[in-house]
Structures are given as structure tokens and as C-alpha cells.
């Protein structure tokens, strides 16, 4: 991999170049840290978070729906807190109800998103990451409280808990899409690092293809049209039309499935073929 020239992706006038280690660190570090942060908050010593979420939810339930709900401390099972709803059986609160799992996933991704090697691009990365982390956590927290308010009110007016719990919880996860869009605004490094990984993987294949074409042209003055279409990134639908007009522009001819290069143009053909963007500068 070290022999391959590192690709550079340009986006919004910034350059993005990543090391392979930083991309590997994202792939391993993000899920691992998300899981560890979740375990930390699932630990008994961190159940203050349960209390805060339960009490805030009860506060808003009583303000908006005037239902007389209560937060009860019941340390009998694995978890300690429950909602007491008048006329209905209590709802036990667990770590998943805090929404911390969504915050953990995004925290893991944000923390381990690779930094570009370009000094100008990475200059304010810590600030951008912090902004993304705080905004995504606050949005998840608020949406989670709103989700519980809707669910508990529906439960209070008579719906069965099993009917509303999973459906509304799943529906509220749409917010993750909004967070990804927001995250891309502040730290485009995440999406770009995924594209970058694809580029790194495809680069050896491209080099091999170019080498194959070069060897064929050197030995027989011709190249396979199919290979040329892939090198020039032509669309399959308009391939035949595009390749013939492209060949005319450069003074090449087409015979059956082959591109024929005149002997005096072979060295120029190879030079243009081996460029980072083949045939782009001269077209």
C-alpha cells in the first residue's frame, strides 16, 4: 500500500488526505469506544443519569398533560427508577431509555473521525468536532425526552405499552439522519474518509488496468475498448457514442472491439494514460 500515491479529495476548497492508520482507527475505535461509553453509563454508579432523565420527563408530563405522574426510586431489580402513571401499572426505566446509546455511537464516530493531513484543513478540527458532539448529543437528548412524553401520554390515555413502545422508538430514530447531515456540515471528514477508503481500495485495480492497456498498446498498437471505457469512466448507456467521439478527438480509430493507435502517437498515448486523471488534461 505504501507504493500507492495517496489520493487527495478536495471539498469546499479544503484538501483531505488521510493516513491508513487513521481510517483503521475509525473502523475499530468508533464501535469499541461507543460500546465502552455505553457500558460506563449502564453501570450502577452512573444511575444519576436515569434519575435526571426520569425526573425531567415527569416534570414535562405534568406540565403539558397534567397527569400527576411521579418518578419513583425502586432499587429492587437491575435498574432503580420507574414512572408511576395514575390508573396504569408503572413503567420501569432502563439505560436504553436515556437515549445514551445513540449519543455513544455518534460520540465514537466523531471522536475517531480521521483528521486530514493538510495543515489548513485540520487547523480547526477540534472545534468542529466539539461543536458536532455537543449539538448531536443535545438533539438526541431532547428528542428522546419528547419521544417519552408522547409514549407515556398515549399509555396514560389507554393504549397498550407494547403497541406504542417499539413503533414510536423506531420512528424517532429518523433523527439520526438529521444528525448525519449536520455532522457532514461540520466534520465532512467522516463521509470523505469513507469515500477515501473506496479510492484507496480501487487504486491498485486502476493501476493494474492501466498497466495491462499499456503493455497491449506497446506490443500491438491497440487497446480493448471495454478497458478504455473503464479507464475513462464512461457510462455504459452512452459508451459507444462517447468512445467514438473521444477517439476522433485524439486521432485514434476503432476496429471491432479495439482502439487502434497510430504508431507515431503511442508514446503520447501512454503518457496520457499514466496520468492521475488519464487523458483529462489534453481533452
Amino acid at each position: 500500500m505504501s507504493k500507492i500515491k495517496k489520493p487527495t479529495i478536495e471539498f469546499n476548497n479544503r484538501k483531505y488526505v488521510f493516513t491508513i492508520w487513521s481510517i483503521l482507527l475509525l473502523a475499530i475505535g468508533a464501535p469499541l469506544s461507543a460500546y465502552l461509553i455505553y457500558l460506563f453509563f449502564d453501570w450502577k454508579a452512573q444511575f444519576w443519569l436515569h434519575e435526571i432523565v426520569v425526573k425531567q420527563t415527569v416534570y414535562f408530563l405534568n406540565i403539558f398533560f397534567n397527569m400527576g405522574a411521579k418518578a419513583e426510586f425502586a432499587p429492587s431489580g437491575k435498574y432503580f427508577w420507574r414512572f408511576s402513571i395514575p390508573g396504569r401499572s408503572p413503567i420501569y426505566f432502563e439505560t436504553f431509555c436515556t437515549g445514551i446509546q445513540a449519543i455513544c455511537i455518534f460520540a465514537g464516530i466523531i471522536i475517531f473521525t480521521p483528521h486530514s493531513q493538510d495543515p489548513k484543513t485540520r487547523e480547526d478540527i477540534v472545534w468542529r468536532k466539539t461543536k458536532a458532539l455537543i449539538v448531536s448529543s443535545v438533539i438526541f437528548y431532547v428528542v428522546n425526552i419528547i419521544r417519552m412524553l408522547i409514549q407515556i401520554d398515549l399509555y396514560y390515555i389507554g393504549y397498550e405499552w407494547n403497541d406504542i413502545h417499539f413503533s414510536i422508538s423506531a420512528a424517532s430514530s429518523f433523527i439520526a439522519v438529521i444528525i448525519v447531515i449536520l455532522m457532514h456540515r461540520w466534520i465532512p471528514e467522516f463521509i470523505i474518509s469513507i469515500i477515501y477508503t473506496g479510492t484507496l481500495v480501487s487504486e491498485p485495480v486502476k493501476q493494474k488496468r492501466k498497466k495491462k492497456v499499456m503493455e497491449m498498446v506497446e506490443s500491438s498498437n491497440k487497446a480493448e475498448l471495454k478497458q478504455m471505457g473503464k479507464i475513462l469512466r464512461m457510462e455504459k448507456k452512452t459508451f459507444l457514442r462517447d468512445i467514438s467521439s473521444w477517439a476522433d478527438d485524439f486521432g485514434y480509430t476503432i476496429e471491432e472491439d479495439y482502439l487502434i493507435i497510430p504508431p507515431d502517437k503511442i508514446s503520447k498515448f501512454i503518457q496520457m494514460l499514466m496520468q492521475d486523471k488519464p487523458f483529462k488534461d489534453e481533452s
Partner: protein
């Protein structure tokens, strides 16, 4: 308004919010019924200290860029 003054106000607001958040944590801890109520502070205060550093670092970033742009406008200085 000069850009530096605006940036100063933003930084001042962020630091104030940070301090207010620390104050709210301190106010909340004695009200919690959980046995582990002090852990709220143990977890959140180090995060606020890190945030404080990041805000100050941002101020340094603003100053550096304003200084650089002034240097470009007046190459003699």
C-alpha cells in the same frame, strides 16, 4: 462592530454558558436521590474543563487569523 470585538463577545458567552452549566451541576447534586449523586460532578466537571480549554483554543485561533489578515493588509507591520 470590529470582528475582534464580536469574537470576544462570542467567547465570553461560551465561557459564561460553561460556568453556568458547572453551577447547575453543583446545584443539582444535593437534589438527587441516587446514592451515586456525586458521580454527576465527577463525570461532567472534567468534560467542562476540556470544553473550557477548547473555547480558549478557539479564541487563540480567532486572534491568530485576525492578526494574519491584518498582516496581509499592512505588510510593513
Amino acid at each position: 462592530m470590529k470582528p475582534i470585538i464580536l469574537k470576544k463577545i462570542i467567547i465570553w458567552l461560551l465561557l459564561t454558558l460553561n460556568l453556568l452549566f458547572a453551577f447547575v451541576i453543583g446545584l443539582t447534586i444535593p437534589l438527587l436521590e441516587s446514592k451515586s449523586n456525586y458521580n454527576l460532578g465527577i463525570v461532567m466537571i472534567p468534560l467542562l474543563i476540556i470544553l473550557n480549554y477548547i473555547i480558549l483554543d478557539r479564541f487563540h485561533y480567532y486572534l491568530k487569523h485576525i492578526k494574519d489578515s491584518e498582516g496581509e493588509l499592512d505588510p510593513k507591520t
